[in-house]
């Protein structure tokens, strides 16, 4: 039975499958080998038997392509034009080093897993790949189409139970690209695509005019707020709405004469959901930061991203399943650091550091970190070579994604980049694998099919497999 070369995936007891099979082969020499008993041993551990650990997900999205080699995968021994200006520092897990400008984050590596070998073939500034796992270059990355596959959050909304009154998917602080190019850009990715608009996220909004400067770095400030339609319009009080609703009920009574009772169940349900969105206090209070301790606000950092992360935490507390928090562009500049990469990061990284570490701390303090998965990712990475403008350009061939919290084996590094953080050296990970990992933590089968507009079944993670090595 030397023909049985298994995959090299590591089983929960630390043996690789190949080693297991080798052990089986040895027992063959003793005459006791048979395939069923060998595989029955695997059944006891069972690849699919672990329940989903994460009740909720907070996805922190650095829009524009973060230079993760200057953040989580530093190469101090690389040549001048590659290594960058920052130094790695030790984290609280021996053997894991991250950037000197992320000192608070470094104290959380015992809860985090760094995946340093993410790459995709879907082209630059294409968030569709990272939100869905669908790695295909698009003719136009500035608009979205109803024929695209659904994002992870939209799949959560799709699976939302009818009795849940809160939406399953909120997207803060606004649609991806809202801060960019006057708001005309709508990066594809966050949407429900062919599942249908009813599974699109509930987007909040923000004021793009509020821009803060941190050490010369422009970031968006202010707070996200509920979109126009989800809060009562100016001049309409709750009382006035109730009065109108009362009138409407009387007019709708006529309806019953017109058709069978059951015909409109679905319509009625949506109307109730809409009304509860307008009148419920859960969402509103999650967005209302006026009563939050100002010191906590400071710890999260007073940026739009920080405020959004805080609201995200409050939404998760209220029971929302999937919250996305995007660090959007102010104007044309953000994580898309074609010029002055390091100068920009000197401002941005301490802010990110504060927000990220405070979020984890806050969640842990509330006992929510064990049931909330926090993912820090970007739509791509940046070139190993520093360009003439001290910037880094687009690069999709290797970058890092950071997982932390529920379901994650803390203190783990998975995959490796080469000496220049240019290409994957070990264990490449696709965006589909990242999505599959998140689905898996949520207890959603990554192979669950959804149907595109032609009726074709498409697995939600597009064939991606969960990275079991970073999962507990």
């Amino acid at each position: 039975m030397i023909t049985m070369l298994g995959s090299r995936r590591r089983l929960c007891d630390g043996l690789t499958r190949r080693e297991t099979l080798k052990a089986g082969a040895l027992s063959l020499l003793g005459g006791a080998f048979n395939l069923p008993s060998l595989l029955a041993a695997e059944e006891k551990r069972g690849p699919g038997t672990r329940p989903g650990k994460a009740r909720s997900v907070i996805l922190l999205y650095l829009l524009g392509g973060a230079p993760t080699q200057d953040m989580f995968d530093l190469k101090p021994n690389a040549p001048d034009r590659i290594r960058g200006e920052f130094k790695p520092v030790a984290s609280n897990v021996s053997g894991i080093q991250i950037c000197e400008h992320l000192p608070l984050t470094a104290r959380w590596m015992h809860r985090a897993a760094l995946v340093r070998s993410v790459n995709h073939k879907a082209g630059c500034h294409n968030p569709l790949a990272s939100y869905t796992g669908y790695e295909v270059a698009l003719p136009d990355i500035t608009s979205t189409k109803d024929t695209y596959p659904p994002s992870m959050g939209s799949v959560c909304e799709y699976l939302r139970k009818p009795q849940d009154d809160l939406p399953a998917y909120l997207y803060l602080p606004n649609y991806a690209g809202a801060g960019n190019a006057g708001g005309v850009v709508r990066y594809p990715g966050p949407y429900a695509g062919f599942l249908g608009k009813r599974y699109d996220p509930l987007f909040s909004e923000f004021n793009p005019a509020i821009v803060r400067k941190i050490k010369g770095t422009s970031v968006l400030g202010g707070e996200p707020f509920l979109a126009r339609n989800t809060r009562l319009a100016e001049g309409i009080t709750l009382d006035a709405l109730q009065t109108r609703e009362g009138l409407l009920q009387q007019f709708n009574r006529q309806q019953r004469r017109l058709e069978s009772d059951r015909a409109l169940d679905d319509v009625t349900r949506m109307q109730q959901r809409a009304l509860s969105l307008l009148t419920s206090t859960k969402l509103k209070s999650a967005f209302d930061l006026s009563k939050v301790d100002p010191r906590l606000r400071d710890q999260y950092d007073r940026t739009l991203f920080g405020a959004s992360a805080l609201i995200g935490r409050r939404l998760v507390e209220a029971g929302v399943r999937f919250v996305n928090v995007t660090w959007d562009f102010p104007g044309d500049n953000s994580w898309d650091t074609h010029a002055a990469n390091f100068a920009w990061l000197r401002g941005a990284l301490p802010s990110l550091d504060a927000t990220y570490s405070t979020l984890l701390q806050d969640l842990e303090g509330l006992g929510l970190l064990d049931e909330t998965l926090v993912v820090l990712m970007s739509d791509m990475g940046r070139t190993p070579q520093v360009n003439a403008a001290a910037g880094r350009d687009h690069w999709t061939y290797c970058y890092t994604v950071v997982f932390a919290g529920a379901g994650i084996r803390g203190g783990t590094v998975y995959g490796a980049s080469d000496a220049h953080a240019a290409y994957v050296k070990d264990r490449p990970v696709s965006t589909g694998d990242i999505c599959a990992t998140i689905y898996y933590c949520l207890g959603i089968d990554p192979e669950m099919p959804v149907h595109d507009r032609g009726g074709r079944p498409v697995p939600v993670a597009h064939g991606g497999r969960p990275i079991r090595e970073i999962l507990v």
Binding site: R244, D266, V267, M448
Partner: protein
């Protein structure tokens, strides 16, 4: 009784699918099989309903047959793998027939020659002759049985037996190893469409790990299928099943590949044929016979995959036993290898108190609809009121609301033919042409981001002209299919124009897209699945798909030197305003990606005929599409018209014609198609026929027998008739008297009259074209697909919020000189104002309690106008306004 059993089933399935991700691991700690989610039924996984348990009940089903017959009349079992499903039918005094196969007693006169399995399934045991004795109540039948060559080795065919066994196990379906990436590292072609690849995968893949010819029983695939080792899919079949024994026999024989001269599978025959069953005949055993090119016929019942088009009506198990569960019609799909055959079964439970009221028939539509309803014991609803009819027919034919004046006039009209007169008037109104051109433009993808602004204008004008003149629809199809020339000067050429980008400024749609579009628009067939593999639940093959694409292989485009447009703009979303020239080249072929063969043009369902030399392929295609004997075009077109009027196609979805999705009323569809052909593809004639029918004019209010029916048109389907986004916006404008201004169009231009959706120009450096926010929110399709499904009609939270709380509706209500403002300025009595508002919104006068509620509210108010705005708001938010009744 009937009521309580209807409908919940499909709904339950849908709900299960939705929460699957959550509950499945709680259920069994494993990823459950995903096949339910596919909407496809895993035949082997669904147990048929239990047979009646007691002998007494069996005896009741058997009853007192006048005679029984057994098929086949003579059983020959040749070779060790032979098998035979026997079908026993009883005939009764009233002329009815019942399937007695599961209930009768079978025995053989000579023991040991055959094994008689439960359910009348025979397999050989040794060479010899015997007689099968069939005992059903008082009747006995005797069938001679001959077994030969039992000891002769008989090779198991990889393609025709082993792959069929994989199919029976569901191993190669899309949810399992048939997915392109495979499962657990094991990949099969979807439903075995590529046997060569499967042979390699099984005998060589992963160092031939899955099969072991030296110890066949130890083969991994065998263990997995039997569930003897951990398998995410669990046990697929038992060791004593035909599938398991076929698998093992092939492994034991050393995994032979098939000889090249293997006789091809020609067709499947299902025994018995279609028919109507009534209680107590709630069961029907099927036998499936495969006919091969060498003339041989084999029983393949146990190697066939069965599924039902409607499990609520009929369920079928893996052995081909159908259980009929409630009155209705279902198609039983039988798939053996790549051939799918459907059997239509109708089941009728008599309704004791059923009384057919004999409603008058307006025309042949009613004749066919009522015949079906009568057969199914469903009483149609009453005729709708004049109020309902008026609003319904305005919205359905012209996409507009009647004005208060028109409502008053019609309700005052007492002539008996007032409905017919109204229909005739509406069919001649300019709004009719606007509305029906707009519907077709959705499918033809009229969208300036693809065909530029001028293209969208000329495309609309061209089509609207045809609708207005009522050009025979075959002529419109011909103009589209054969169009060449500049997209600005010959509008139908826009059919071929693809989305441009900076890299390919002159873009023509590829032959595959054109094949899909054409099949969907003109044939109502969705072929997308067949691009990469044979269609999994339909008879279209990958070859059919690429044969279809071949019609368009020579369509090419070049820049139009006369209308070159501007230089490429800086951003890909910005328009260039150029025309392109579509032409037919002399060369260009399509190859089948799997076989690499050059495909000849061939139309779905039409025998191949040689192309006349020198003739444009597309001209030949147009001839074939619009030929009077082409079954697809007329049926697809009338079905689409029916869908737009009734809210549901006779085949539904209206662009999903397939054997496994049978029409709700075959005779009706045939009659409409025949009428359409007889009147030279006259669309208006068909529309008039349909809206004149009593069926169209039925009320939405159901009765005891029909309120659960959503299939046979026994009442108006309100749920399916939400106002489309554009019609709703126009209705909000006319109801409030505040028109919407679209940049570049004169005030008063209705949404339906716009050439496409992208009418908002943002301006500035990143200038782009966008759709109206309200329309986008309400599901206006972007016109990127040729599918009716692109229009999202669902009520969503967003939409409700937009109506309750959105700026658009608010602005319409609050505009000072809107309809309300004008009525108040005339200082009319409150009662008259209310009346006008009801006529303008709901197209009817208010009822007494509505008058009371509204006037009480207005009387209490401090600011009168605000109170009236509340009333208007409530009217615009009623289901009655948002839906068409």
């Amino acid at each position: 009784m009937l009521r309580s059993r209807r409908l919940p089933l499909p709904i339950l399935f849908a709900d299960l699918n939705r929460v699957k991700g959550f509950d499945k691991r709680a259920r069994n700690g494993k990823w459950a099989h995903s096949s339910l989610c596919l909407g496809l039924v895993l035949a082997a996984a669904l147990p048929a309903g239990a047979l009646p348990p007691g002998e007494a009940e069996k005896a009741a089903v058997i009853g007192q047959p006048v005679s029984i017959s057994v098929r086949p009349a003579m059983i020959r079992l040749s070779g060790p793998q032979a098998m035979q499903q026997v079908i026993v039918t009883g005939r009764y005094g009233d002329g009815a027939e019942r399937d007695l196969t599961p209930f009768c007693a079978l025995s053989a006169e000579v023991p040991d020659v055959v094994t008689i399995g439960p359910g009348g399934f025979l397999q050989p045991r040794k060479d010899g002759r015997t007689v099968l004795v069939v005992q059903a109540g008082p009747r006995t039948a005797r069938v001679p049985v001959v077994v030969t060559d039992f000891g002769q080795p008989q090779p198991v065919s990889f393609r025709q037996q082993f792959i069929a066994a994989l199919g029976v196990g569901g191993c190669n379906q899309g949810a399992c190893h048939g997915i392109p990436s495979g499962r657990g590292g094991f990949r099969l072609s979807l439903r075995g469409h590529d046997p060569d690849a499967d042979y390699l995968e099984l005998t060589r893949g992963v160092f031939a790990r899955r099969t072991n010819p030296l110890a066949p029983e130890a083969s991994l695939i065998y263990h997995k299928a039997l569930g003897r080792v951990p398998h995410e899919g669990g046990q697929r079949f038992g060791a004593d099943t035909v599938a398991a024994r076929t698998m093992l026999a092939w492994l034991r024989q050393g995994m032979p590949n098939d000889p090249p001269a293997l006789p091809a599978l020609k067709s499947l025959e299902i025994v018995p044929g279609p028919g109507v069953r009534t209680p107590p005949a709630r069961w029907q055993q099927l036998a499936v016979l495969a006919h091969f090119s060498d003339g041989s016929v084999r029983d393949v019942t146990r190697l066939t995959v069965f599924s039902s088009s409607d499990d609520g009506i009929a369920r079928v198990d893996g052995k081909g036993l159908v259980e009929l569960r409630q009155s209705g019609e279902a198609a039983i799909l039988c798939r053996y290898l790549d051939v799918i055959q459907c059997l239509r079964l109708t089941y009728l439970e008599p309704r004791q108190d059923f009384h057919w009221p004999n409603p008058p028939e307006h025309n042949y539509v009613d004749r066919h609809v009522f015949a079906k309803l009568k057969m199914l014991n469903i009483v149609p609803s009453d005729l709708c009121t004049d109020q309902e009819f008026l609003r319904r027919v305005f919205l359905d034919l012209c996409g507009i609301l009647p004005t208060p004046e028109e409502v008053r006039n019609f309700l005052a009209d007492r002539r008996p033919d007032r409905r017919a007169r109204l229909i005739d008037r509406l069919l001649e109104r300019p709004e009719f042409a606007d509305f029906w051109a707009f519907k077709w433009l959705d499918l033809l993808r009229c969208n300036r981001l693809t065909i530029q602004i001028k293209g969208s204008h000329v495309y609309r004008q061209w089509l609207r002209g045809h609708v207005e003149r009522n050009t025979p629809w075959s002529q419109v199809a011909r103009e589209l299919l054969t169009a060449s020339g500049s997209t600005f000067t010959n509008p139908p050429a826009n059919y071929y124009r693809g989305a441009y980008n900076n890299r390919a400024p002159v873009a023509v749609r590829d032959p595959q897209t054109l094949a899909e579009m054409t099949a969907q628009v003109f044939f109502g067939v969705r072929m997308q699945c067949a691009q990469c593999h044979n269609h999994p639940y339909e008879r279209w093959t990958q070859d059919d798909y690429h044969h279809m694409a071949a019609w368009f292989a020579q369509v090419k485009a070049k820049a139009d030197p006369v209308q070159p447009g501007s230089p490429p703009p800086p951003y890909p979303w910005q328009l260039r305003e150029d025309a392109i020239v579509i032409y037919s080249a002399r060369a260009g072929e399509v190859t089948q990606p799997r076989t690499g063969k050059v495909m000849t043009p061939k139309l779905l369902g039409v025998p191949a005929s040689p192309l006349p030399p020198g003739k444009d392929r597309r001209a030949v295609l147009a001839d074939l599409v619009t030929a009077a004997d082409n079954p697809f075009f007329a049926r697809a077109t009338v079905n689409r018209l029916w869908f737009h009027l009734l809210g549901k196609g006779i085949v539904d979805p209206p662009d999903d014609f397939r054997d496994s999705n049978p029409p709700a009323n075959e005779a009706l569809l045939d009659a409409l198609a025949r009428d359409f052909l007889d009147h030279n593809f006259d669309v208006k004639h068909v529309l008039r026929t349909i809206v004149s029918s009593r069926t169209y004019q039925l009320s939405a209010h159901g009765n005891e027998t029909n309120q659960d029916d959503e299939r046979y048109f026994s009442h108006a389907l309100v749920k399916r008739k939400r106002l489309p986004a554009e019609v709703l916006l126009d209705a909000l404008c006319t109801a409030t008297g505040v028109p919407e201004k679209f940049a570049g169009f004169p005030l008063g231009t209705r949404t339906i009259q716009l050439p496409d959706g992208e009418v908002i120009y943002t301006g500035g450096r990143y200038a782009t074209w966008d759709r109206h926010a309200f329309l986008k929110a309400f599901g206006q399709p972007p016109r990127e697909a040729s599918c009716e499904c692109e229009r999202e009609g669902d009520v969503t939270v967003d939409r409700v919020l937009e109506l309750k709380n959105g700026a658009f509706v608010r602005q319409k209500i609050q505009t000072p000189d809107n309809r309300l403002g004008k009525l108040l300025a005339r200082k009319l009595p409150d009662r008259d104002i209310l009346n006008e508002l009801f006529l303008a919104t709901l197209s009817r006068p208010p009822l007494p309690d509505e008058v009371k509620a509204a006037l009480d509210h207005v009387a209490k108010a401090k600011v009168k106008r605000e109170a009236w705005e509340d009333v208007l708001w409530a009217l615009l938010n009623t289901n009655e306004f948002l839906l068409r009744h």
